[in-house]
């Protein structure tokens, strides 16, 4: 077939380049973690009483941020199998590689669980339900042992799902066995169910329980929207950089880019829809047991962050990506995707950093604490992000960039928008 020639002509073997990049990313990650430690120690020694809390918050926020990208990759892959998608075969391995970083994220989650189990100073300020006197009815759910068990279950399920789908896809490169596609399809449906439940309770545990008095049924959906839009944005960035380095040029065309761009656009709107629903309903009903969480986010410095999210999370990408032109130009889409990724990094900080109190609403923090919050978030982002990136790059370099013998690859190669 004519298409096979285009695969051969196009460089889809990233193996030679990956090790160097993996090492660089890992070094960057280690530097970030060391920097986090240094800044943390400096903050503690400067006598900032909240410094330990800032470290844990920054760490959890970035853990949730990069796990979201991996989970977005997982659900993307699952949905492609569930819908027997043809167009996406040529970009599916990119999502498989972000999903493939989930085992590494599990390693990075261990410290938080350990910190909790050891009740290291500061963690009780992040998760008030860890305090010994905590006696709300949901203590049956929010307690150390159950939290640890749940983390093991969640990451266990994700690692199992990610390994199965990534390995089956890679195995097919060698065997060309069509039955692998059917097997992945038959397992993806229960996989989606498992994903929905685990991802929801993961974010309830990690972020919502920072205010154990506060509750919102849509919270899991909000995290899903962040996961999905982040992952497709990462895919758009990967396509841009790989194209620039001369990879995948004939395999991933502007048509695929266009579709990835449409997903970035669509899920930007979806995120705004979910965020609006949550805010509007709580604002309108104005029940104090719910509003204090938003009060904390619209007072003090966090107000500016809230406004940034509305403008930067919705209006700017909406207007920027609505036309087909930016979606079909890798550089323009990469700018949009990077923007979306940055905004949603702030989005996760917006969930994790503001301190709220059910009685008083906003809890004011000092300027120094705020600075340490942000600096530590940044260094933790470099740390966790570097290690996450090294895991993704390692996956990218461990097999060809395209599932070369997927039965629907020809369909993807021949695909055109109209």
């Amino acid at each position: 077939m004519a298409h096979s020639a285009s695969i051969e002509a196009s460089n889809i073997d990233f193996r030679g380049h990956a090790p160097r990049l993996v090492t660089a990313a890992r070094m960057l990650g280690l530097i970030g973690l060391v920097l986090t430690a240094i800044v943390g120690v400096a903050a503690i020694s400067m006598g900032d009483g909240h410094a330990r809390e800032s470290i844990w918050r920054a760490y959890v926020a970035n853990l949730c941020y990069f796990t979201a990208i991996g989970l977005g990759g997982l659900i993307f892959v699952l949905i492609q199998h569930a819908t027997r998608a043809g167009w996406s075969v040529s970009v599916r391995r990119l999502a498989e590689s972000t999903a493939g970083a989930l085992p590494t994220m599990a390693m990075l989650a261990i410290p938080i669980v350990v910190v909790m189990l050891l009740s290291l100073p500061g963690i009780e300020e992040v998760y008030p339900w860890l305090k010994s006197g905590y006696d709300r009815s949901n203590a049956a759910y929010l307690n150390k042992p159950f939290f640890a068990i749940r983390m093991v279950v969640f990451f266990g399920i994700w690692i199992w799902l990610a390994n199965f789908f990534v390995n089956s896809s890679v195995l097919q490169d060698q065997t060309g066995d069509v039955r692998l596609t059917s097997r992945m399809e038959s397992r993806c449906y229960p996989g989606i169910l498992l994903y929905a439940l685990t991802s929801t309770f993961f974010v309830i545990d990690m972020l919502m329980s920072m205010n154990p008095h506060w509750y919102s049924t849509i919270f899991g959906v909000y995290y899903f929207s962040i996961s999905f839009v982040n992952n497709v944005s990462v895919m758009a960035l990967m396509i841009f950089f790989l194209h620039r380095a001369g990879f995948m040029r004939n395999v991933v065309s502007n048509e695929h880019l266009h579709d990835v761009g449409k997903l970035v656009f669509a899920f930007t709107v979806f995120w705004a829809y979910i965020g609006f629903s949550q805010y509007m309903l709580i604002w309108y009903a104005s029940l104090p047991e719910e509003t204090f969480w938003f009060m904390a986010r619209q007072s003090g410095p966090w107000l500016y962050l809230s406004i940034l999210l509305i403008l930067g999370g919705f209006f700017i990408p909406f207007l920027g990506l609505i036309s087909r032109h930016p979606k079909r130009r890798a550089a323009a889409l990469a700018v949009g995707a990077a923007w979306v990724l940055v905004v949603h990094w702030f989005d996760i900080l917006w969930l994790a950093l503001p301190r709220a109190n059910p009685e008083a609403g906003a809890v004011t923090i000092s300027g120094t604490t705020l600075v340490f919050d942000l600096v530590l978030s940044l260094t933790a982002m470099i740390g966790i992000g570097g290690i996450f990136a090294s895991a993704v790059l390692q996956r990218l370099g461990s097999a060809s960039l395209v599932p070369t013998r997927d039965p629907r690859l020809n369909e993807a190669l021949a695909f055109h928008n109209f």
Binding site: T83, T200, Y215, I218, L281, F415
Partner: protein
């Protein structure tokens, strides 16, 4: 109209090739024939079955007319609404019917953007169903306002008394949301009909048909330029209708969720209502498609694979609804809020437990049967499940509206809501109206989008010269015709 075509199983899955979406030996001409001929049966040869169905539906519509007349003649007291439950069947039926409509827009707009070719066989009548369902829905707020002659106050019409509806009320947002939804759905449906109306015009054998279909076809000639503009317009309408699918039922959910009432006020309501609406809508599409394909001889176009796909959507959206129920329950417990907890325990164990468990078994348990391919591809089984879905989704709205209203914060104001005969007759009558409109549509308009089905047939793109064999024809680059 009875079909002699047997059931062809095209649900087998081979990742190497796409299964055919039109079964049997068919070409463009025979597709036109099989769809157009249904609308072309001369009036004096109308099958008896149609008359029977139409007679029953029209009679039930007459009952609706009587129930509405009686309501207007006597006042809202003929209904079972009482002091805590000021919203009874009227809002339940309104939400139910708006929800039914959502499948049509999902199929015509969202599945179009997702390039799901199988939608071509079902989009036309699903969209028709949307329009008729929204008509049924729109009836209820109209007659519930008490003084129907002042119904225009629903709209913010400038007047010398400077009287305005409350812009902060989601009920007013509903007027806009549903109004916009109806307008765009109607336009979308009509634009899609134009090429097929022209086909009927060209095939017409008598003057009246030629005149009426000709006027409706708006001078369509099928020229390249017409098609080009048509496809652009269709794409734009699909893009406009897509957010509407989400927004309409989100706004409907705001009717409840902005309140402080436990069981109503919960943040997951907007996406949960949207998923539920699509769930109920697909239930209705399967309920209608199963007999329609049988009686109109359309089994080769609305194949088993189409039905299976719809059942998968029912399973997916039914599971989303189950997720929302579970999340509401979990958070009610997690919140530690005694009112929230009471509302949910009361649903499951209180005076309306019968309604709650009807809802759970129909909405959460029955669609789970579709995990089994044997059930998913069995026409009688899916028909039964689809009826259950319809029942379950009506009861969902009943449970939400009635349990929360009748037992709120103040036990001294609690009461039991009992619908009267006129509540039931109005509900029944709305089904009569729906089926009457649907039967008229089946009789006089092309039930399937003829032009779109032709575009997904094997060989439709042979002229593009990509050298694919038949097996690849459906996903040849010429997918532009992907409808």
């Amino acid at each position: 109209m009875a079909s002699i075509v047997g059931e062809v199983d095209n649900t087998m899955q081979d990742p190497r090739r796409r299964a055919p979406l039109v079964t049997g030996q068919h070409d463009a001409a025979s597709i036109t024939r099989s769809v157009a001929s249904i609308a072309e049966i001369p009036v004096d040869q109308t099958p008896l079955g149609w008359y029977v169905g139409f007679g029953i539906s029209a009679t039930i519509t007459a009952i609706l007319g009587f129930a509405v007349f009686w309501l207007l003649f006597n006042g809202v007291g003929v209904w079972g609404v009482n002091n805590p439950a000021g919203w009874g069947f009227a809002i339940i039926n309104f939400v139910f019917w708006v929800g039914i409509g959502h499948a049509g827009t999902l199929i015509s707009a969202i599945l179009f953007l997702f390039r799901q070719h199988w939608r071509t066989a079902i989009n036309r009548f699903a969209e028709a169903m949307t329009i008729f369902a929204v008509i049924c829905a729109g009836l209820f707020p109209g007659i519930h306002i008490g003084r129907v002659w002042l119904a225009f106050y629903l709209f913010p019409i400038p007047n010398q008394m400077a009287m305005w509806p409350n812009f902060r009320s989601p009920l007013l947002w509903d007027v806009f949301a549903v109004g916009t939804y109806f307008t765009v759905s109607l336009l979308f449906w009509y634009v899609g009909l134009i090429p097929d109306l022209a086909t009927l015009r060209d095939r017409a054998t008598n003057k009246w048909r030629k005149l009426i279909y000709g006027a409706l076809a708006m001078g369509w000639t099928g020229s390249m330029r017409h098609w080009h503009r048509y496809e652009r317009a269709y794409l734009i309408l699909a893009a406009l209708a897509t957010p509407l699918v989400l927004s309409v039922h989100s706004v409907v959910s705001f009717d409840f969720a902005i309140a402080q009432l436990p069981g109503w006020h919960t943040t997951i309501f907007p996406p949960y209502f949207v998923a539920g609406a699509i769930f109920s809508g697909f239930g209705m599409v399967v309920t209608l498609a199963v007999p329609a394909r049988q009686w109109c001889g359309l089994k080769h176009i609305i194949t088993l694979r189409h039905l299976e796909n719809m059942n998968k959507v029912i399973l997916a959206t039914g599971s989303m609804v189950g997720y929302a129920y579970a999340m509401e329950f979990f958070i009610a417990w997690y919140s530690g809020n005694s009112y929230e907890q009471f509302a949910f325990i009361n649903r499951a164990m209180g005076p309306y437990a019968w309604a709650y468990w009807t809802m759970v078994s129909c909405n959460v348990i029955s669609p789970q049967l579709f995990w089994f391919k044997a059930i998913r591809t069995s026409v009688p089984a899916m028909f039964i499940v689809s009826i259950f879905v319809n029942i379950g989704m009506w009861f969902e709205r009943f449970v939400i509206v009635i349990t929360s209203l009748t037992q709120d914060f103040l036990p001294s104001s609690w009461d039991y809501y009992t619908p009267t005969a006129f509540d039931w007759l109005t509900l029944l009558g709305s089904f009569g109206l729906f089926f009457t409109l649907f039967l008229l549509f089946c009789r006089f308009l092309p039930m399937v989008a003829i032009a779109e089905v032709k575009a997904i047939m094997p060989g439709a793109h042979g002229a593009h010269g990509h050298g694919h064999g038949d097996e690849h024809a459906e996903h040849a680059p010429a997918m532009e015709a992907a409808r």
